[in-house]
């Protein structure tokens, strides 16, 4: 059974009396124990999708989906509070910019302790405080922070970005989630720290069978860590498949351009040759093109592209394009 099954999720933003469809019918499935990557340029709605899954968006966003199932229960039929209850029990999220996601006036220890679920604690209420502390220390050890007493007594601004990110991961693990959504966990971090964080996530995935949805714009790192990849562009679904499929036989022109623009993933570039890239930039919310939003930038765009393409499946390799590159391989 799929852990998370989202079909055609749309996210509408209401600003003033205008409605902007920011995310347009995106599908995403997660299996148990899967490490899936969600890739796209910044501004493609990856973080929004994650926040919509978590249910932390404020009232100016409206979520609509054909199917939004969590382990078989239909979340769209539940009320907001019930949905939140189920989601926050089993799903945890690591946000971008860990420093700003920690309360600046509360110590790390306190913030960690409040994340510990009451159900994990036993005994009477006077024993719980101690257990909470112990649980917090254990969590810090789990994410590789050895000086736990120093860490728990500090405020967020006293720690480095990488340490804060570890604390955020520890906080996410406190509820023993089944699915961890990691939203650019290594943004603004140097590569040694990046490697450590990714290794931590991968080991959690392997040892605890925790599913991870890794959101990143960095396709290169994704190849090492993920089993499957979903690609998004400007709030639209582009392509999904195994990591190998995405890298060796991308069906969508956008994915192809994305793969070609990363120098490492594309090993047959001759030195000093021109790196290929798509012309233009991602459209802003005010001027979203109709139909396939890649249209104005797409090298293969034709008249049919003014209608949004339907998603087609080729043996589990999903692609959403009128003129897919499938036949060229």
């Amino acid at each position: 059974m799929n852990l998370l099954d989202i079909r055609n999720l749309s996210l509408v933003m209401i600003s003033g009396n205008k409605r902007v469809v920011v995310i347009d019918r995106v599908s995403l499935t997660m299996k148990e124990g899967e490490l899936r990557g969600l890739v796209g340029e910044s501004g493609s709605g990856k973080s929004l999708l994650a926040q919509a899954i978590m249910g932390v968006l404020d009232t100016k966003w409206i979520i609509d989906a054909d199917r939004f199932h969590w382990r078989g229960t239909d979340l769209m039929r539940l009320s907001v509070s019930e949905r939140k209850k189920i989601i926050s029990k089993d799903v945890a999220m690591i946000f971008q910019e860990p420093m700003s996601c920690l309360d600046p006036t509360t110590t790390i220890g306190e913030q960690l302790e409040e994340a510990v679920d009451d159900k994990q604690l036993t005994g009477f209420f006077w024993q719980k405080k101690k257990q909470r502390k112990l649980a917090a220390v254990k969590l810090l050890h789990k994410v590789g922070i050895k000086k736990h007493s120093l860490c728990t007594s500090s405020y967020p601004h006293q720690l480095t970005e990488a340490l804060c990110q570890r604390v955020m991961i520890a906080m996410a693990l406190a509820r023993r989630p089944i699915l961890l959504i990691a939203d650019e966990p290594t943004a603004a971090m140097e590569s040694t720290n990046q490697g450590q964080i990714f290794r931590l996530l991968a080991s959690l995935n392997q040892l605890k069978n925790m599913s991870v949805l890794l959101i990143s714009h960095d396709l290169e790192n994704m190849t090492h860590w993920t089993n499957r990849i979903t690609v998004m562009y400007s709030g639209q679904f582009i392509e999904a498949g195994t990591t190998e499929q995405i890298f060796t036989t991308p069906f969508h022109p956008y994915t192809k351009a994305l793969v070609e623009s990363t120098s490492h993933a594309n090993l047959n570039v001759t030195p000093k040759s021109r790196l290929s890239a798509l012309p233009g930039s991602i459209p802003i919310l005010k001027h979203i093109p109709i139909g396939c939003r890649l249209g104005p930038r797409c090298p293969r765009a034709q008249k049919a592209c003014v209608d949004a393409p339907k998603t087609k499946s080729h043996h589990g390799h999903l692609v959403s394009c009128h003129f897919s590159l499938k036949d060229t391989y």
Binding site: Q51, M54, G55, V56, D58, S88, K89, A92, M93, F95, E97, S100, C101, L102, D103, P104, T105, T106, E114, A115, D117, Y155, H157, Q158, T160, M168, M171, A174, R175
Partner: protein
């Protein structure tokens, strides 16, 4: 924290130097004889005058004069009032506590009512409660304080007869002034009618304090509202939501403290404004405070009193300012120390 305290003290000392220099220069800027303005001895005989010139070093240069003035200040000698010939320092000691009492009670009312109202408005953003609170705060902000005071007297004292309209305490109670702060004095006294006196003093302070509190309260409402709204949109609140905390847990544990940090910052600034309002209110409610005395002194051209009152009031405001800085530092760990690296 030690360095933080030292820096605040340093600021305090330098501000006091500037303040005293200003008040010293005032005696030269006011019309009339500088020595008379400084000491208030209008009817001094030539012998007394010579003595004063010697005491205040008026025959040597200006720095020595200033130094002599400072040493007089530290001895608690601010001269005598030109109008009443009473020592200024004893007048201030008698009157300042009443003003402190009034403005502190007003500040507490403004904060205790204003800040939670602002928070409630922010939590119910763009709903009925928010609009109502904003409307009331706009109204309160635009009402002139003297008019509000007169209206309050008209309604609550004359029409309804609930509250006394003037003074600090009914004359029937005899309370020995020890600290000058009425409530402490009543509690410390061993009068038989202690509690009745306490009740009476409370009734007396309610109306003027509420009138003074009105304008600062409305600013606190709006400050608290914007700062709470900012906090609620921040990513750590989102992260706390994702942690699975309930809405009230988030408000209670994370939002209130962070929103308060921003509000407390402005409390010290608003306090100077509040004291000015208190001065006007003192006149309306015949509150025996320093504000009323100062305004009377201005009418009587009592230059020594103006100088002394100015010095006392501004040091009081400044002390409150520093206190609010300390509260801010206690709430906000970022203010306590330098940021390393970041």
């Amino acid at each position: 924290m030690l360095i933080f305290t030292l820096r605040r003290l340093n600021l305090f000392i330098f501000t006091l130097i500037v303040l005293t220099a200003l008040s010293f220069s005032l005696s030269f800027l006011f019309p009339g004889d500088a020595l008379i303005n400084l000491t208030g001895q209008v009817n001094a005989t030539p012998e007394q005058r010579l003595l004063l010139i010697e005491e205040y070093k008026f025959n040597s240069n200006i720095f020595q004069q200033y130094w002599a003035y400072l040493s007089h200040l530290f001895d608690g000698d601010l001269g005598v009032s030109i109008a009443s010939h009473l020592p200024i320092s004893s007048e201030i000691m008698n009157l300042l506590p009443a003003t402190i009492e009034l403005s502190v009670v007003a500040l507490i009312i403004a904060m205790v009512v204003g800040i939670p109202l602002g928070f409630i408005a922010a939590v119910n953003h763009e709903k009925f409660a928010d609009n109502t609170i904003l409307f009331v705060s706009m109204l309160g902000y635009s009402i002139p304080i003297f008019w509000l005071g007169l209206l309050a007297i008209l309604i609550f004292s004359i029409e309804l007869g609930w509250l006394p309209s003037a003074g600090r305490l009914s004359l029937v109670y005899e309370i020995e002034p020890i600290t000058g702060i009425q409530f402490f004095d009543i509690l410390m006294s061993n009068s038989e009618y202690k509690w009745q006196a306490f009740q009476d003093a409370t009734l007396h302070i309610i109306m003027p304090a509420c009138v003074v509190a009105m304008a600062p309260m409305t600013t606190f409402i709006r400050l608290a509202r914007t700062s709470m709204m900012e906090v609620l949109e921040s990513s750590y609140i989102k992260a706390a939501k994702a942690k699975g905390l309930t809405f009230w847990q988030i408000i209670h544990r994370h939002a209130i403290r962070n929103a308060l940090v921003n509000v407390i910052r402005y409390v010290g600034l608003r306090f100077a404004n509040l004291v000015t309002l208190a001065m006007v209110t003192e006149v309306i409610f015949s509150w025996p405070g320093i504000g009323r005395w100062l305004i009377e002194s201005i009418f009587q051209r009592d230059y020594t009193a103006i100088q002394g009152g100015l010095l006392a009031l501004s040091s009081f405001i400044f002390i409150v300012h520093i206190l609010s800085d300390f509260i801010y530092a206690a709430l906000n760990p970022l203010a306590r120390e330098h940021n390393h690296g970041a």
